[in-house]
Symmetry: C2
Subunit: 260 residues, 2 copies
């Protein structure tokens, strides 16, 4: 079988459609990964405005027409081609599943939101290690004490992902990721998890814990799970998101989201 | 009287509110200028999606709540503090006026969209001349043959602004403006107006013509009048925009829209 990092987006999507359920970090090197949030049309304006007001956690890459099952930068089927989905009713997570075809609705508008996995290959190339990749885990993600700017009926906390970075490589990590503003860009915080309201870095709200070794600093980037935290807080009647870390792999190149 | 370039945003807005009707290029050096488009709430999603799909001509800096008359980055009154406005009914330009207070509606959502005047002081500092500034004119703007990606009921052509740049300074002009993606960023075209469908550069669709001297190349940037061209083509029942070149002067610093 093709190693995950060498798969094309089409190959990876086929594998996920066939039932493979894994976090997508490290898959399809060079191809952009995206968060998914699908909401009823009557919530679409509130969400697009929420994203406009919170561009660092919610950089919108693509928006579908109501009911559409693929998107400009995603030639696959949004209902089947992600490894796993989360289903929300009135803000409650009611189900996690690998296929949402039978739950799909004609009024669902789907938003693809940039994902920090996109810049991980640039980090690796620069010699910045990515612990969850090395250890085959999902990235750890945390709800923070920072509130996003609300929009209409939507409000919620900023969610962040964390990567431990050796202290001497923190400047490189900041510099490299700041070139990718459409996939969360530079970190929002370096060190001091308590200031973000994170009481225990070993107990992430989403994903898996990773070891922070001596000499390493926890570095926090805005995370595209933020829309799902807003769904949980704001309780729209229905929503579908990706399972955190189990992303939509798009047909867009990482490099297309890099700025000079 | 304070020279225009040294005015604060508050001073300039007061002057405009009192009736001064001038293009704002060169005003309030260092402060961000913005295009205005105000649309009924029922068109707000279509417009925000149009902007998301066409970020180069329509970089949204701020969105108001329905009926609001000021915005986060604009402490003035959106109904009076621009030098001039254009009023559209069913897509027809019906009126140009300096105050739209009596036309204001509780359902109007106002969008502030980045303006290329914002990077003109950076061009000047780098020795790139800005002809319309030197000659006290409005910038020339043109409808092009390039269509924007439509969104819902909104579609229309890309509108561009033009600045003649000495050939040897074109690279500097590209480099400098590419650092300002939120105010249109790098040019969309360098030279060859005919390829954009511009048959006569001396007859702009908006603003004033400017001289292109020997050795100068016409350089075209995406323009925030694009939303008004979409209004003209798509004919929403009601819309208010700024008079082209007569911008909203905001309380945000130019530098806040600069990327490294």
């Amino acid at each position: 079988m093709t190693p995950p990092q060498e798969m094309t987006p089409t190959q990876a999507r086929e594998a996920f459609r066939a039932g493979l359920r894994v976090p997508t970090s490290g898959y399809c090197r060079g191809w952009t990964q995206a968060n998914l949030i699908s909401l009823p049309r009557e919530y679409a304006y509130d969400f697009l405005l929420f994203a406009q007001r919170n561009p660092q956690p919610c950089p919108v890459l693509e928006v579908t027409e109501p009911g559409e099952t693929s998107a400009g930068i995603f030639a696959g089927d949004l209902r089947t081609d992600l490894p796993a989905y989360r289903v929300y009713r009135d803000g409650e997570l009611v189900e996690e599943r690998t296929d949402v075809t039978e739950l799909w609705r004609d009024d669902l508008v789907s938003f693809l939101v940039g994902c920090s996995f996109t810049f991980e290959s640039a980090l690796l190339e620069a010699g910045v290690p990515v612990r969850h990749l090395d250890t085959g885990r999902n990235v750890p993600m945390y709800r923070t004490n920072r509130q996003c700017r609300p929009a209409g009926r939507l409000s919620g906390p900023l969610v962040v992902s964390m990567r431990p970075v050796p202290a001497e490589l923190v400047p490189a990590a900041v510099r490299i990721t700041s070139r990718y503003p459409a996939v969360h860009g530079a970190p929002v915080h370096v060190g001091e998890p308590a200031e973000l309201g994170i009481t225990d870095v070993d107990r992430p709200d989403f994903g898996d814990p990773v070891e922070i070794r001596p000499g390493e600093i926890p570095v926090f980037w805005a995370c595209g799970v933020t829309p799902q935290a807003a769904v949980m807080q704001s309780r729209p009647p229905f929503a579908i998101g990706h399972a955190p870390g189990h992303m939509a792999i798009t047909d867009a190149r990482d490099s297309s989201f890099q700025v000079p």
